[in-house]
Amino acid sequence: MRAPHPRRARRRASAARAALAAALTLVLAAACGGGSDSTGPTGQESSSGTAAAEGGTLRVGVPSLSTSDSLDPAAATTTGGYVIARQLFDTLVEYGTGGQVAMRLAESMEPDPADASSWTVVLRDAVWHDGTPVTADDVVATVQRWFSEQLPPASSLPFIDPARVTVVDEKTVHFQLGYPTMTFPDALTSPTTAIVPASFDPATPIGSGPFKLGAMEPGTRVTFTANDDYFVEDEPYVDTLEVISFPDSTSEANALIGGQIDVASAIDPTLIPIVESGGDGFDVFEYATTGTLTWQMNVEQEPFDDPRVRQALRLAVDRDQIVEQVYAGHASVGNDVFGPTDPAYDDTLAQREQDLDKARALLAEAGYPDGVDVELTAAPIQPTATRQNEVLVQQAAEAGFRITFNEVDSATYYGDAYGTYPLSLSFWGFLSIFDQAAFTIVDNAPYNATHWQDDEYNALYQQAVRTVDDAERTELVHQMQAIEYDRGAYVVAVFLNSITAHSTTVTGFEAYPNSDGPVGYNFSSLRFDG
């Protein structure tokens, strides 16, 4: 279904490019005093979309790699770090395309049938990039490394007791937990929990993942080569994967249209028409995710210490308007609770709509009959963040919230003042309801900038994570969500779509709704078609 037109355009372009390249080379040679006999253009052309179904070089644009991108998956804190972790390594389990936990490096992951106080993991047959097999010893070493080196997974996996992670046989590991929890698999889907060899050295990262590390230019580009011994059949399809950084999605879209990349992994929703304007050669792959830009109301300060004020702000928000104006329709409304793709998500809660009268009444009731002044602090952590904040300022004004929008850069935002802002905006891309709760809601949750604590909610959570029966657990989760819905401190207004623009020559895109990135950063399933 490819029109001949773009092809012709491309050929014309390359002729012009070659001519210009020659001219530039001449100028350059003159500038350098002549001696250079460089051959001008390099392999840029050879890698373009004429590849066969198998092989080829896939060039993927991502928003902003950074110099702090880590080659050690456990230390990854950045987009780039996650991207690298997903290519080089495997987690035991992952969130699959249906939003359910799926096996990855694990063949099976089973709880103690009674209370989930211990879990047994059986590994599939896989080999490291150096050809040696992946064994139970590696898994144990990985876990113990987290705790001995105080790496981030150590604090996000409080239930794991490193001393009681034991090798059963070459392919089996037994986890005796500090306390029982059904969140065990969820917690091990994060790319930071990827399994590394016992002899792991971050300087020369060897993993079991679909790709091996090629060249890395920090903050600019990372190149991977296919791991031919990968355990998923046929994957990866391409020989080489280049992940290229762009400062914004405009240049990413331009590069796609200009034929410099094959996939623009994250596109601002308002720019979809740009890709469409590029002609028949381009398409957009889009799906709903659990990712959300959520407002955090700090309950330790006025005015959000009063639940009525929190409800008032939630009622002031016109969610449909945000979806239409900020996301041009490419998002879905939220209902102040997290995890819409989680099987336990309560979709019976009434959709919260804007109700300005009620909001004003609640504010008055809380002692703010003339409205209230609030400072909103936020960073442009997502392309749409600033716009979403501007809309909130406008919508809330009608309900009596006089919001001053204080925009800072993200290092400032996450600096020492983080957690002290009366009102702020964060992006959460958590994979499940439990994951979200553990990180942002319950007692000791590390990211809880709202400081909201609810004993009833915490108790329900503790009970739910220990409940092995699905139906029972779902019921408890519904109760948790009802509490959040009634008196929580987050305004969950929208869930974002993952929008990936790509050349029509590339296929194999799959939706990973509860994922932390476009197509779950699973680039191994992508291939050139035809």
Partner: protein, 335 residues
Amino acid sequence: MTTTSLRRGTAITLALSPVARYVLRRLLLGVAMLFVVSVVVFFFTQALPGDVARQVLGQTATDDQVARLREQLGLDRGVVAQYLDWIGGLVTFDLGTSLTSGTPVADLVGTRVANSATIVVLTAVILIPLAVALGVAAARSPGGVVDGVVSGSVLLILALPEFIIAILVVVLLATNVWRLFAPTSILDPAVPAWEQPDLLVLPVLALVIGSLPYFTESIRTTMTDELTSEHVTWARLCGVAERRILWRHALPNAVGPGLQVAGTTLIYLTGGIVAVENVFAFPGVGSALTAAVANRDIPVVQAIAMLLATVALVVYLVADVLGILLTPRLRTALT
């Protein structure tokens, strides 16, 4: 004893040519200026809010972990101690280590510098002869076609920020109107920038267009002054041919002032490149700078700041020295 040292001192001064002495004096002054710049840059970077340790470790980090990393990075020491450490490194050409990546700053910034230098030099190589040709042509026939076109486009382009020019160039030549050139400059880091000329076309074009008016206008003004000067009038009255007047009598005198303008333009290019690099996703100094500021990678910010200051100093020095060497009045005044 005093006489001997005095005499030796005189001998040394006498051994140096006046130009060399001038250069030496300027170099010493330059070192002093760089020292002041280093103090200013250091203390401005210290004032940045946020914390690189937290930036590196991410939000999940505990206060303990942050404190440990800060200690490891040496951020827990006094400001003066940190400054002395840094300046001590600078003196030995050690730019320090990037806080975020842990790699030496020189490695991290090296390719970026080479990339930016490539487009700046290419721009200068195209810009300077072009501006001289246009400026001379405009000055030759004031009110003529070239003059009109030059002043018109000078006006128009002066009114457009470079990033707008860059965006328009992309729309026109890379994406929407014609797809002639690569819209972004995603250079392959494994290959030197100058071996990927197709990716340099548009940034260089945008920079040339953006800095052409100022330079052309200056050349035009200088050349107009020269061509209306008494000595050119007299040369005409002595029967010297117009062409000869242009190239032999007028242009050499315009070189000195022209060099000054070229220097300023070059400095302006290194500063103005930031926005243009952003448009093209160009992996250069400008984008490294904005990223380093955003990540609080202070050693990188400091290194880039010192680099830009040094480049500015050297460019001004070279322009001044060449200007003196090429302007007999100034050169003989030194003697």
